[in-house]
Symmetry: C2
Amino acid sequence: MGGNQQIQVVVLGAGFGGLTFCQSFRHPNARITVVDRTNHHLFQPLLYQVAACGLAAPDIAQPIRAILSHRPDITVLFHQVMDFDLARKRVILEKGAMDYDYLVVALGGQTGYFGHPEWEQFAPGLKTLDDALRIRSQILLAFERAENETDPAEHARLMTIVIVGGGPTGVELAGSFAELTRTVLNHDFRHIDPTQARIILIEGSPTVLSHLPPDLSASAQRQLEALGVQVRNNLHVKTIRDGEVELANGEVIRAGNILWAAGVSATPLTKKLGAELDKAGRVKVNPDLSLPAHPEVFAIGDLALVLGENGKPVPGVSPAAMQMGKHVAKVILDEINPGTKPTPRPAFKYWDKGTMATIGRSAAVAWVGRFKFSGLLAWLAWLFIHLIFLVGFRNRTSVLFQWMYSYFSYKRSARIITYLPPGAKKPS
Amino acid sequence: MGGNQQIQVVVLGAGFGGLTFCQSFRHPNARITVVDRTNHHLFQPLLYQVAACGLAAPDIAQPIRAILSHRPDITVLFHQVMDFDLARKRVILEKGAMDYDYLVVALGGQTGYFGHPEWEQFAPGLKTLDDALRIRSQILLAFERAENETDPAEHARLMTIVIVGGGPTGVELAGSFAELTRTVLNHDFRHIDPTQARIILIEGSPTVLSHLPPDLSASAQRQLEALGVQVRNNLHVKTIRDGEVELANGEVIRAGNILWAAGVSATPLTKKLGAELDKAGRVKVNPDLSLPAHPEVFAIGDLALVLGENGKPVPGVSPAAMQMGKHVAKVILDEINPGTKPTPRPAFKYWDKGTMATIGRSAAVAWVGRFKFSGLLAWLAWLFIHLIFLVGFRNRTSVLFQWMYSYFSYKRSARIITYLPPGAKKPS
């Protein structure tokens, strides 16, 4: 490689990892091809806001082509990845194949059901824009159905939202649905009282947000309860049926909507990489993020299993994915620029910038270095940081504007029901 | 009626007509029930902007419940109307029935295919948010497919958009797709050149916007052509097949996307009203807008056929629907308030506030009274008037902001492909 020969770099996935790689990697002898199965980069940390009627889909999605349009060395393909032929340095797409010199696998994760894929139809997860639009329509439809019902037991059932999983996504969903029902929908119906809606958050461990220090977890739970969420810790789900969650203790909760926020697993494509995986399907990579048998193939983001300095796996969050993208860009650049190749390649080091989770209007928790915040201050920090990282000026200003509007008016503007995607369950 | 007895008013449809009726009608002894098959009021004049990636769906839709939440005398039902039992003063819904003392039928229209409903699958129309989201996804998908193609003939086919019908909707769609391809997508692809996309507007009569004076029609055509639209007048469609339009002169145009903007007909439910209809399915109403045999039933908006002072039918535009809603509110109020009942009821008078159509960035035509404008001035007038009438502060500010952004940045932010609704055709 080198000289006048073109180096082909293929990046699979235009999430935080893949996109940051592209932004960090530029070389006169290299060409990048980015493959994604959607046409947009999704700002996943705000996806729950689309589900909860706070933001419109285009507010948190930017066309990948538009983000990279100023880079003539990058080609974007809207395609599904099917398989790998690592021996021949080739990626198999739904239609055709692509050769590479370097491959960056940044395909992210999907909702994981702990070996119970049949639960998905009854309890959708939240990973894509389509998921969010589907949840939005289904929750609104359940309230519409309740309004048409005369039976109070049916009211109660249709107005129950169960969220399984008390991690950041579950907490954010629970908080924002509590707010939606208590401060947004509260005057809109004549036969039901949306403030009586039950939002139940089920968590298997003793606390919500168990990755945070105990006092912050406890604060998050108090803030959720103040919004009207029933937080139920130490409970495991036995099975999920149509409109029913059965718990390990035998209790059955009937609910018009059940959402799944309990598990994320790597894309099943990792199974085709021939590398060792953990039980969530993540690829065990070398310290430099390459695959053990393939120094020219890297795995980054949510599908990579790499240990941080504390000996724990680096968490599947966007800052980690971005840092990995940057690291791999440097490794490859060092290798193709003559004279800069270090031996061995440097190891990836995760810099933990802190963790935060939002709960609702002026309610959040944040943990940055030695500092812990909760309440309004944490919420403002959360707002500020999310706005900074939103790609694209339009999204940023639009989101800021809509938050200000929601904040002062107690209204949410994206409360529209559009078509349900194929396979969507109508509220039962 | 009167006294302490409750008067039940049922309004079918929460478009411009139905909503204006509600806003104009309030009586201590009356209760209103509004029935709509969607949960949102749609600002239809801007629907083409959603199709053309300029606005997000929530920007032009407001929940009907939210608009009317301050009116405890109004109940909103999210329901499909199935039939009428006018003799028993009853509306049949998909589930159940409703009795009324007064009925206001404001169900609007749908895309009409001149007796060829089989064309719909190949050439979708633009009447609902789902239509707009479907067109948006399909057009973007066609460009993605072209980018993956190597055959130049396929490029040309996939990048051809045929719009049938040179009325306001057809002109707006043609202009905005021309702009989308020439100023927004132009740097985003590597294998195709979106500025070479063909936008063909087919019109049966000798001019586009034939309801306007000839000089304005000619100006609109010039402005379209300046944007790169091929305007083809005096051409009739013989048939539409998958990816092909065959014209009456035998010419066949192959196109990745075909859109239908040639006809609107009243909802088929008008057939069940037992009244005389015109060939577009509109109800021939009395001068007071009531049905000939039923003084307690009114038809307003796009589905009502009423003659203006010039002897021509009042056009199916939102100002006409709003004026009709106001008129019917006054007629009913006069009748239920003791002592104010005029005999006979006053006739509806349409006040033509002018007509405008937008073509693109700073391109439009407007005709207000004796004044005719075109170009930038007409465009600014169009912008101003549409912003004023957008229901809801959030939508208004958000739309203004997004227009400013698009205007100065030459970008459009809603270029995302989400799921296609059932029955949607993938680009062929």
